[in-house]
């Protein structure tokens, strides 16, 4: 009996010590983790927009976030967009614009929320839910970023996740105001090295550059060898002018699949196709409503 008690006592003490160590580490690392993740995303975003190391974005450059919610009211659903309110240069909190599924205006609610708080999902969701009341339930779906320079739009940044060959692939995609692709960056993937992992390489990623929306809508992969001159242009091995020339020549082509990883290539291509198509449709609908209802936004 005494032995059992000692065992229990010692085991409890060990567990307590272990728990304390892990808990402390968690508390310490969690903040750093969030900060680093954010920093990494920001770095990738700026890189996509063409601001490399040492090239700081201008004073007038600003990022505005649009958060999309699905609002359920009993059986019926509507889409809610949480937008920063006020025209360029004004600070007017946020506004929650609800659209019906057909894309018609339903309602508009002002939401008092600071920009920092809007970034924290918990705070944001609470604010939206309180504003809507208890009869409607809002569920956060995704967010996009609009990049402006002195009030004029420069680019859209969307992050997305889609199933790849093994697990999900998550990317950040940059589009210009006409929905042509500026570029994309793979954030996470578990594709096979030497095969599917090649989606990270320039010769694959840069093929998507400058594709216009009309082309993206029908973008496919082709199982043909990548022409040498195109490869060199994509990898940045040629001079700028010559590379531009070749890029232009191939801009109407489909995406050349990576040798031995058609499935990964196809997953990325159709993922980007779906993201762009949906985003373009949604933003166009939203903009029509904003214009008709004269809701001012800073972008």
């Amino acid at each position: 009996m005494k032995m059992i008690l000692t065992i229990i006592f010692r085991l409890t003490v060990s567990c307590l010590i272990a728990g304390t160590i892990m808990g402390t580490t968690f508390v310490f690392t969690n903040k750093a983790k969030k900060a680093n993740e954010h920093a990494r995303e920001e770095k990738v975003m700026y890189a996509l927009l063409g601001y490399g190391a040492g090239q700081e974005p201008d004073e007038g450059t600003a990022l505005h976030e649009i958060f999309r919610y699905i609002v359920a009211d009993g059986d019926s659903q509507s889409i809610g967009y949480l937008l920063p309110a006020g025209h360029h240069g004004e600070e007017a909190g946020f506004v929650f614009v609800q659209l019906s599924l057909e894309g018609d205006f339903v309602s508009k609610t002002a939401i008092p929320l600071s920009e920092e708080k809007a970034r924290e999902q918990g705070d944001r969701d609470n604010a939206v839910q309180t504003a809507l009341g208890s009869s409607q339930i809002a569920r956060f779906v995704d967010q996009v970023m609009v990049v402006t320079e002195d009030g004029s739009r420069q680019a859209y940044l969307l992050s997305g996740k889609f199933p790849g060959y093994k697990t999900n692939i998550s990317i950040i995609l940059a589009l210009d105001p006409a929905y042509s692709i500026i570029g994309f960056e793979v954030m996470e993937h578990e594709e096979d090295p030497g095969l599917g992992a090649e989606i990270e390489q320039d010769y694959f990623k840069n093929q998507f550059k400058h594709k216009p929306l009309e082309k993206i809508k029908q973008l496919q992969v082709v199982k043909e060898p990548l022409p040498d001159e195109y490869y060199n242009a994509l990898e940045g091995k040629l001079e700028l002018a010559a590379a531009e020339q070749i890029m232009l020549q191939y801009s109407d082509n489909d995406i050349y699949a990576i040798t031995g990883s058609t499935i990964s290539s196809d997953a990325v291509t159709s993922g980007i196709r779906g993201m762009t198509k949906k985003f373009a449709y949604r933003l166009d609908t939203l903009e029509k409503v904003l214009e008709a209802q004269q809701i001012g936004v800073p972008f």
């Binding site: 010692r10 272990a18 892990m22 580490t25 680093n36 993740e37 090295p193 030497g194």
Partner: protein, 204 residues
Amino acid sequence: MATDKSSLQLVANGILKENPIFKLALSMCPAVGISTTVINGLMLGTAVLFVQVFSSVTISLLKNFIHPRIRIPTYTLTIATWVTVIDLSLAAYFPAAYAKMGIFVKIIVAFAIITMRLEMFACKEPVKSSFWDGLGMGLGFMVGMVVIGFVRELLGSGAILGYDVLGFKPLLFFILPSAGFFVVGLMMGFFNWIETYYAERKKR
């Protein structure tokens, strides 16, 4: 009963005589799974090194407190704690490298090599030699990983540490996932051959 080996001997023992990968053939999963580049090997090797050293020292410190009947559960708890600590820290401070290693950092908890060292060494020896033994085992694992990573990266993508050294890719096969088995098997055979070769030369 303290070991009579010096710290240097303990470290060398882990790297050469009882190398966890090539000699003991334990903890093979990452050696096959993510040894495609030198840097991967280094990163995971460091993680294992830390877990091994911390666990060895902890167990050695607490060896009088641990009840012999619940020895193994306590080892598991200790290892799991340190793996969690390493896992969280890596995820926080080296997110890019952590993403590459995927599930393998968490799997360190099931590595036979760490439990084995605790059972065979740390629970009997003083803190100082346990530290050196843990260091030796961790380094041995790291060296193994780096050597395999070196071969695979050089032959598979013609690069070392990400720098293109050959200018061409000799055999893409080596970087493919299933090649890990071949590389480990061939290298084990090669080391065996060297050993027998020298043993025979000594005899003569």
